[in-house]
């Protein structure tokens, strides 16, 4: 699933992977491997780049209804509300959406607070990324 969107392990720990345009340095996530989308550029050389591991909360919400397919859920596990966090990455000047790590609650989140990217697992066992408030328990 989504090959090349993130990488676990190594000295960097868990990171999201985007691409960077060699000509204008614009960053893309999800990765853009064909053509730079900056209308003033036109570059075609896009190299893989690790995104910042830390960011700040731009906004967040808790979904209380079970999403329709193709959302991955385990039919044997009772449905639980889930949190989505939109995170601003200062170095990339972009916002990246992701689910909050298990155990994070609404009360743990506030706009502007620092979060880090951590490995996660989807309902069908596929790997994904999660956002977790810095300092929160694992």
């Amino acid at each position: 699933m989504v090959d090349g969107w993130f990488r676990d392990g190594g000295a960097d720990g868990f990171v999201l992977l985007g691409t960077r345009c060699a000509d204008c340095s614009a960053v893309f996530f999800p990765r853009e491997d064909g053509f730079c989308r900056n209308p003033g550029c036109g570059g075609e050389a896009l190299a893989e780049v690790a995104l910042s591991r830390y960011g700040t909360v731009w906004s967040y919400t808790e979904g209380r209804y079970r999403p329709p397919p193709p959302y991955a859920v385990d039919p044997d596990v009772p449905w639980e509300p889930y949190l989505l966090v939109a995170v601003e990455l200062a170095a990339e000047r972009m916002v990246v959406l992701g689910q909050a790590a298990p155990g994070v609650t609404l009360a743990d989140l506030v706009v502007g607070a620092e979060v880090e990217v951590v490995p996660g697992v989807l309902g069908d066992g596929a790997a994904t990324w999660h956002w977790r408030p810095v300092g929160a328990a694992r």
């Binding site: 919400t61 209804y65 329709p68 939109a86």
Partner: protein
């Protein structure tokens, strides 16, 4: 072309009442089309072009509209066009009709949009489509549409200090207007307490903050000003602008269906946000400004989103939308009523029809025939919405 030189006439407007009627989209669209033709006093066989806003046809792997409506009304050889632009489909259908009229390709055009919406949340088409960001946001994140509405709402709370109680007042206002509209699905008043008592869908938004999915249909008969004159229609409602602009890179506000925004490190963000640029393009084309408006019809997918439109339309400065709402300026009887039809709060979403339905409402308001919800002396109206994937949509109508 801008100003009166680009005018086209609205000869007829028609709708099928919205709801969950259990019929197919063709039924709703055909009822609306027949109503618009009757309103215009134009025989279907005299229509030179039919433009359909697309819907997914049950069991058919594709998007169909224009020819389906032409067949339902009786094949008569008209030019045909079908357009898909998600929530902006209706505006693009109107834009297409307008371009044909101004280019002299047709004298009178029928525009139709209709849908029979599935139950529950909108979901992407099936299959395993990992190259489709719209599919991926559901698959990876469970990012249904209300999740984005919740993110917008929470962001406004953080930036502007708004509260869920503020958002609820939008629903109270729109439900009061919708109660006066025979085409609306929901026709009862709603209290702030009822909004607060409804279940949370995407925190901080509750069920009554978020529009439903509906069945519905809407249609317009549009013509050149010459055709209208020849028919003895001297002072029709006129469409003076249709904005269908895209965003400008880098787009820095997270919005449906994206998983991330553009990065702003290679180019500075544009001076205005996408929604504001949609309205500005319409104002510039029409040669008017926010101060000229008698009313506005905007996509209130959520209560919080309607507040954002106040600012994007230039009705007030950033952060002052709640003040405008609380002052009653955007309610019926106020300085510039917003969603006098009742909005999506009262209609629900029938995607290909809604942008056309907005123009039906402007037409009735500018004709002065909107009954109990009439905005007195209405002369200028704007519609505004945006379609998924970067489709702008705004229409200016004048009388």
């Amino acid at each position: 072309m801008s100003g009166a030189a680009g005018d086209i006439a609205v000869l007829g407007a028609g709708m099928h009442p919205w709801g969950k009627g259990g019929r197919g989209f063709l039924h709703y669209g055909t009822v609306a089309a027949r109503a618009a033709l009757a309103d215009a006093g134009v025989d279907w066989r005299d229509i030179g072009s039919v433009v359909g806003a697309d819907t997914v046809r049950g069991g058919y792997p594709g998007y169909v509209a224009g020819a389906s409506f032409a067949r339902a009304l009786g094949w008569q050889g008209a030019r045909v066009t079908s357009v898909y632009a998600a929530c902006a489909s209706g505006a693009q259908a109107i834009g297409t009709a307008r371009a044909q009229l101004l280019a002299g390709l047709a004298d009178v055009v029928l525009v139709v949009g209709a849908d029979a919406a599935p139950k529950g949340f909108f979901a992407p088409a099936g299959g395993d489509r990992q190259d489709d960001p719209d599919w991926l946001r559901f698959r990876l994140l469970g990012a249904v549409n209300p999740v984005y509405f919740g993110l917008f709402a929470r962001r406004r709370m953080a930036v502007h200090g708004e509260t869920p109680e503020d958002f609820a007042l939008v629903k109270v206002k729109n439900a009061a207007a919708g109660a006066l509209n025979p085409y609306a699905r929901y026709r009862t008043a709603v209290t702030a307490g009822e909004v607060a008592a409804s279940p949370v869908v995407a925190d901080p938004l509750r069920l009554l903050d978020i529009c439903a999915t509906s069945d519905g249909g809407a249609a317009l008969v549009l013509s050149s000003m010459d055709f209208a004159r020849r028919r003895g229609v001297i002072d029709p409602v006129r469409i003076r602008a249709v904005s269908t602009v895209t965003p400008v890179y880098p787009r820095t506000v997270l919005d449906l269906p994206d998983i991330a925004t553009d990065s702003a490190i290679a180019a500075d963000p544009p001076p205005e946000l996408f929604r504001a640029s949609i309205a500005r393009a319409a104002y510039e084309e029409a040669g008017i400004g926010p101060g000229d408006l008698s009313l506005a019809e905007v996509y209130d997918l959520s209560t919080a989103l309607e507040l954002e439109w106040y600012e994007d339309l230039g009705l007030c400065a950033a952060g002052e939308a709640v003040k405008l709402l609380r002052d009653g300026a955007t309610a019926l009887g106020g300085r510039v009523p917003v969603n006098p039809s009742g909005g999506l709060a009262s209609f629900g979403e029938a995607v290909p029809a809604q942008a056309i339905a907005q123009v039906c409402e402007l037409t009735w308001q500018l004709r002065g025939v909107a009954g109990a919800r009439q905005v007195p002396g209405a002369r200028v109206g704007i519609t505004a919405n945006q379609g998924l994937f970067g489709h702008g949509s705004a229409v200016v109508a004048v009388r």
